[in-house]
Every structure is written in structure tokens, then in C-alpha cells.
Assembly symmetry: C2
Homo-oligomer: 226 residues x 2
């Protein structure tokens, strides 16, 4: 992603990943945290089922190399940006959250180094083999690749939305006022309606507001917020 | 979780969830974001496969109520705490990250309201039916419940670790110095070794350091950090 012109006055990108679909192999029956895992397949674009099938079959026939616990995972866009001031981090955080990256957060180091991490709640993690035994059908793997591709597409949309919001937010103050005025008259983006939820299953969590994508309201890029 | 004694001088818990295993039903073929989904099953403890089976079967036989796109998901501990000062948020953030909650982050509102969100990278999200058709076998659902339970167990360990670290961090300064001295002599917790990774599959991400649990070093509660 090419940064907006005035970006470098206030920000410095320290790391980024546009999002990826990965198939990895690692033990998961002794500890949930996966150690010494090996990556079998990785792509930052949509992929074909055949590509994943091919690698998956190869893994199953070379068990001496792997432990046979493969997992298919979609990981969304992640970005770390060092900020000049706390206000700069606040601005980027607002842009990120309003663009759909609701797990974003600021870190302030001991020596005052300010980092904003842009993170999404997007997730897919499916175990596909265990101790060398395939757990799923070919059709299901095909379906999973389709879901991963959908998530990748949505991920790219969010990145674009984030980039557009960032450009607007980094425009000189006067231009932003004109935009705000226009937005006040006819909002371009609106808050989405609160989702309905089945009352038959209740949850005892205390007003959690960033747990997942299913139980909460989500705001889209709202220019009035900037 | 009962807060340590000196907690209330600096912090105010605004929301929390100890972690949960959920089975929900919602359309996912038109948009990745799930709207109007209904929760079929939720537990904050380990669960039995039979409990999930039972609900799953019920869902499949009452399609008029659901759209038949069920997903099994494990969601880890999440906590939101309002902090008096930015330093208080920094302290809680360090404790959270060192206890394994690496997606934690601070939010600073327009009016200066400081919130720290304690979040984990822990994830499991598996589609189990699509348009009323079951995608997986009973054995696989049984396996998934086992994995969810393992994640729940690890989640509870992290919560305990977080609580212990928080208690230590909130002790009066003098006591902390004594502890630090003792830790300097004989560290209780050490950084884990960097994981080895298969070189055959490379990734073009730019030094991302919080993407997932598989590709990066993780620090456990390290008293020297506090």
C-alpha cells in the first residue's frame, strides 16, 4: 500500500502483511500453542483448491518431515506504525476501527515509543489432519478454500476502505472541515443497524464490545468520526 | 476474576468475557461478515461433544428457524479496563502481553478516556454446515470439541498467569524491587527460544511480529519486564 503524501511527517511503518491463507503443520495435541511448525503453503491472494490439495497430499506422503497435524488458516491484514505523537496514534486508531479493523490498539513503550497496531477480528482456523490422518473430505477442503477466498476479498475491501479514510484524515485541516460540512448534510457512510440476536441462547459476558463479529454492532468508515 | 486489592485505585473494568465455545448459525455465502446470526450453543467451560451434537442435530431439523450455515468457534478471554493514567494502561498492557495476550492494545478517546483491551491471538473457527447440509463427520466434530477444550484450558492458564502477574505488578514499589532483585538472581520465567521454521515456504510479509502464534517468538510472563 502506498502511503498518502503527508503520512511520513507523522508516521513510520515498521511492519505489515496484507493478509494470507496458510496451511501449516505442527503438533497440537500436547499444547495448544504450536511449536516447531512448518509452513506448507502460503498465499497473499485468493487461491485455487488444487494448489492447497497438491501441497496437502505431498505433506501426507512425506510424514517423516512432518508430524501430520495440518491446519488451514486465514490471517487478515496487520500493520504496525510508529507514531510521532499520541494524537497521531489516536487518529490512525480511529481510522482503523472505523474501517473495520476493530482489534486495533496503541502500545506505548517504556521510553515513550508509540506504536499503533492495525488488526482485524477476521478469522478462520480449521484443523485438516491429525497424526497423519486426514480429518476432512476433498469437498470440504474445497469449501474451506472458498470461504478463505471470500475472507481475503473482504480483507482487501477493508484495506481499501482504510486507505481511503486515511487519505481523508491526513488532508489539511481546512479541507477536512469542508468535507465534514458536506458529510453533515448528506452522510456518505452510516452506522449499520444493531444486529438481531436469538434470545434462546444467552451469554453471561459483561457487556463485551469487541469479542467477535457475530454479536456486536460494527461501524463502517464514518467520515463524521474523523 | 477477583481484582487485586490496589486495582480499584487505578482501574475500572468496563467489560469482560472469560472465553467461550460457541456454535452459531448465520449466512456466510453473500458476505463474510455474519449478520442476523443466531447462537445455538454457548459455554464458558470445557464441554462434551454430546452437548454440541445435540444442538447441532436440533438445528438441522428445524431449518425454518435457521439458514443452516453453522460455525463452531472458540473465542478467548477478553477484558476492557478504563485506566486513570496512561502509565497505568502501559503497566496493564505489559502484564497482558507478557502473560500471552499479545493482541492487547490501548485506546485513547477524544476526551482522553483511556481504555486497555486485553486480547489473545487464540482462535478456532470452523464452518460445520452450509445451507442445511452437514459438511463434516461426527468424528471430526468430536475432534473439534476436543481442540476447543484444549484451547479453553490454555485460555484459563493464561488468565491465571495474567492475574498472578497483575498482583505482582500492583504490589507497592518497594516489594517489587525486592522481587526484581530476586528475579535478577534466578529468573522464574524466561523468554522461550525462537521457533524454527521450514525454509521451503517463505512469506513476503515485512517483519510482522504479531501475526499469529505459529511464526513468531512468544514471551511468557517475565517478571523482569514489569
Amino acid at each position: 500500500m502506498e502511503e498518502p503524501v503527508s503520512y511520513h511527517d507523522r508516521y513510520f511503518t515498521t511492519s505489515s502483511c496484507s493478509g494470507r491463507i496458510i496451511l501449516f503443520d505442527g503438533a497440537c495435541d500436547c499444547q495448544v500453542q504450536k511449536r516447531n511448525c512448518s509452513w506448507l503453503f502460503v498465499t497473499h491472494q485468493k487461491c485455487q483448491s488444487e494448489d492447497v490439495f497438491c501441497v496437502f497430499l505431498k505433506q501426507l506422503t512425506s510424514l517423516e518431515k512432518s508430524v501430520g497435524d495440518a491446519t488451514l488458516k486465514f490471517e487478515p491484514f496487520v500493520l504496525h506504525v510508529q507514531c510521532k505523537k499520541l494524537e497521531d496514534a489516536q487518529l490512525l486508531h480511529t481510522v482503523a476501527v472505523n474501517s473495520g479493523f476493530r482489534n486495533s490498539g496503541i502500545t506505548v513503550g517504556k521510553k515513550g515509543k508509540i506504536i499503533i497496531a492495525v488488526r482485524s477480528t477476521h478469522c478462520l482456523e480449521v484443523p485438516v489432519s491429525h497424526r497423519g490422518t486426514v480429518l476432512i473430505t476433498d469437498q470440504y477442503l474445497d469449501f474451506l478454500v472458498g470461504v478463505s477466498n471470500q475472507k481475503m476479498e473482504e480483507n482487501h475491501k477493508r484495506i481499501e476502505r482504510f486507505y481511503e479514510c486515511l487519505k481523508t484524515a491526513l488532508q489539511p485541516q481546512e479541507q477536512n472541515c469542508i468535507l465534514k460540512e458536506a458529510a453533515d448534510k448528506k452522510p456518505i457512510y452510516r452506522r449499520r443497524r444493531r444486529r438481531t440476536q436469538d434470545d434462546s441462547v444467552t451469554d453471561c459476558c459483561q457487556s463485551v464490545n469487541d469479542h467477535n463479529e457475530n454479536s456486536e454492532e460494527e461501524t463502517v468508515c464514518d467520515l463524521l468520526f474523523l
